[in-house]
């Protein structure tokens, strides 16, 4: 059965956890810019955590469902509704045959992830269902959704059916994941960074500005990267490095002196000096940055970054086990 995009929204794409193994051919990782948020939403509806969901940017999406489904969403502070019923972030909800749901008006942050039981069953291209907007492949015909698009859904699993039955009366589950997981957007975010390989090639004043001043997110930002206005950093004289691998989280300083934070759709190699890298757990916050947001960078150690990531993974494992009774 299908879901229909009655309204497609500003920029909505099908995304899973991304495409690996093809960087050597210049293919980006892609996938949900906040992979953790998509994993959580998938777990809430009884999906495999790598199932494909929808990544909504700023809202404007209205979906209609042809059969009964479990749905959960995570991400920024949005207004999600089904008819007159408000759909709170992080709570699994039963969507009945013929029902519609909409997601509107990002108040904080700019992206949300919608997981539907069965997952969005678009063809797998190069090992993933994620939309690659630069290469024009994957997802729905390699592009953002359009009005009227039909999106195939996989079958509801046995697990999902059990929870749907349990929720027949109340429709919306009372339980939800930890708040930071389903709603990572912050009003005045601080992104924790570790040093990049060219950190030491910038002078002290530049490094102090980088970690001390506020930077403003430029409107010229997308799934490839976030550009910052604000204090210009003194570009390093060695701007013409030999290109080497870059990845989501890498912060480059191009000759303009305005930092660029790379996100999931970034190119696979780059030649600008890398001053720092946003740590993996804070990519959830980075994925919510919108034009005008004021951001600070704070240095942490590599050991801190690993500890935070391992802790989050352990908590997710605990959460996964805690969910089990709802699905059995």
């Amino acid at each position: 059965m299908n879901a229909t995009a009655v309204r497609a929204g500003f920029s909505t794409t099908v995304q899973d956890l991304g495409r690996t193994g093809f960087r050597q051919f210049g293919v980006s990782l892609g996938g949900a810019l906040d992979a953790h948020a998509l994993r959580v939403a998938n777990l809430l509806v009884g999906n495999n955590e790598s199932a494909a969901g929808l990544e909504v940017t700023f809202g404007g999406l209205q979906l209609r469902f042809a059969d009964e489904r479990l749905m959960a969403w995570s991400g920024g502070e949005f207004d999600a509704r089904s008819g007159s019923t408000s759909l709170p972030v992080g709570h699994p909800v039963v969507i009945r045959e013929g029902d519609e749901m909409g997601i509107e008006r990002a108040k904080t942050g700019c992206r949300a992830w919608i997981a539907v039981s069965g997952g969005f069953d678009v063809p797998v291209v190069l090992g993933s269902r994620s939309t690659d907007l630069r290469g024009n492949f994957g997802g729905k015909e390699g592009r953002a959704l359009r009005h009227g698009d039909e999106l195939p859904l996989g079958k509801n699993s046995e697990r999902t059916r059990i929870l749907i039955d349990k929720l027949q009366r109340e429709r919306i589950a009372r339980w939800k994941p930890p708040h930071d997981w389903s709603s990572p957007a912050k009003r005045e975010p601080t992104l924790r960074v570790i040093r990049g390989s060219e950190w030491n090639r910038f002078d002290n004043v530049t490094v102090q500005r980088f970690t001390g001043d506020k930077f403003t997110v430029s409107p010229d930002s997308d799934r490839m990267g976030v550009r910052f206005e604000g204090p210009r950093l003194k570009a390093n004289e060695l701007v013409d490095l030999i290109s080497e691998a870059v990845g989501p989280g890498t912060i480059q300083i191009p000759p303009s002196g305005k930092p660029i934070l790379l996100l999931g759709d970034c190119q696979t190699v780059g030649g600008y000096p890398k001053i720092a890298h946003v740590i993996t757990v804070d990519l959830s916050i980075a994925a919510q940055l919108r034009a005008g947001d004021e951001v600070r960078f704070r240095e942490v150690t590599l050991a801190d970054a690993y500890q935070l990531l391992i802790n989050r993974e352990q908590n997710l494992e605990q959460f996964r086990r805690g969910l089990q009774p709802h699905f059995s």
């Binding site: 390989s197 989280g249 190119q267 190699v269």
Partner: protein, 237 residues
């Protein structure tokens, strides 16, 4: 050799310090290192990304820890394994390049070769001399990047090196063959770009329905063959 972190989920193995002096030697060492690391199947390693003088190693720290690394020493643990693999290898033997160069047909028709005059002027040559010189040389893929399937080719005759355009074009047609500084390359998907367009190939350099999806990979040798507009139209169908 130097191993440095690239954030918390990747690292870079710097195989050679310099590129300009001996680009082929650097490439061979990079490819050999890639091969060694591929065969080593190190725990938690997801994929390898070779480029010019380096191999990027992308990994899942959670799986590295599950394989015995202390949570605060993931990078050091993996870097140590990588050093062992490389130092234990008797020599960095490059993949043997027995195969002949891959032929890329290029039409140098004025409609495709938008910057051929600039390139010729810069080189102090005639347009046909530029094409002849370009086709006479053998090239090697040093890196795939920028867009899916975009090959960065070394081996451009130094006379043909042409600075990038001061204002990049917003949309470069698929298949455009171009010169940027001392490198040359081919635009496999529509994208913006600042290189000087010298011609266009009817070959498809990137096809996501194929595995591998790219026609070229790092290490491949390449030659360009001039074709007529007729041949271009026939092959492009």
């Amino acid at each position: 050799m130097e191993i440095v972190p690239l954030g918390d989920s990747a690292l870079i193995v710097r195989v050679r310090k310099n590129f300009d002096g001996a680009p082929d030697e650097a490439l061979n060492a990079v490819l050999a290192t890639r091969r060694l690391l591929e065969n080593a199947h190190l725990p938690g390693v997801i994929e390898l990304a070779p480029a010019y003088t380096t191999v990027g190693v992308f990994f899942d720290p959670v799986r590295v820890v599950a394989s015995g690394a202390k949570p605060d020493e993931v990078f050091e643990w993996l870097a140590e394994r990588i050093r062992e693999v490389i130092l234990n290898a008797n020599e960095l033997r490059a993949d043997r390049m027995e195969t002949s160069p891959i032929q890329i047909p290029v039409c140098y028709d004025a409609e495709f070769a938008l910057d051929l005059d600039e390139i010729a002027q810069h080189a102090g040559l005639g347009a046909q001399e530029v094409v002849d010189l370009y086709c006479a040389s053998e090239y090697r893929v040093h890196c795939i990047g920028f867009t899916p399937g975009f090959p960065f080719l070394g081996g451009l005759p130094s006379k043909l090196a042409t600075p990038r355009r001061s204002t990049p074009r917003k949309e470069i047609p698929v298949g455009s063959v171009a010169i940027g500084g001392a490198q040359t390359g081919i635009y496999p998907v529509q994208s913006p770009g600042g290189w000087n367009l010298i011609g266009r190939t009817p070959l498809r350099l990137f096809d996501p329905k194929k595995d591998p999806p790219a026609l070229l990979r790092a290490g491949d040798r390449v030659r360009f063959r001039a074709i007529s507009r007729d041949e271009f139209e026939r092959s492009a169908m």
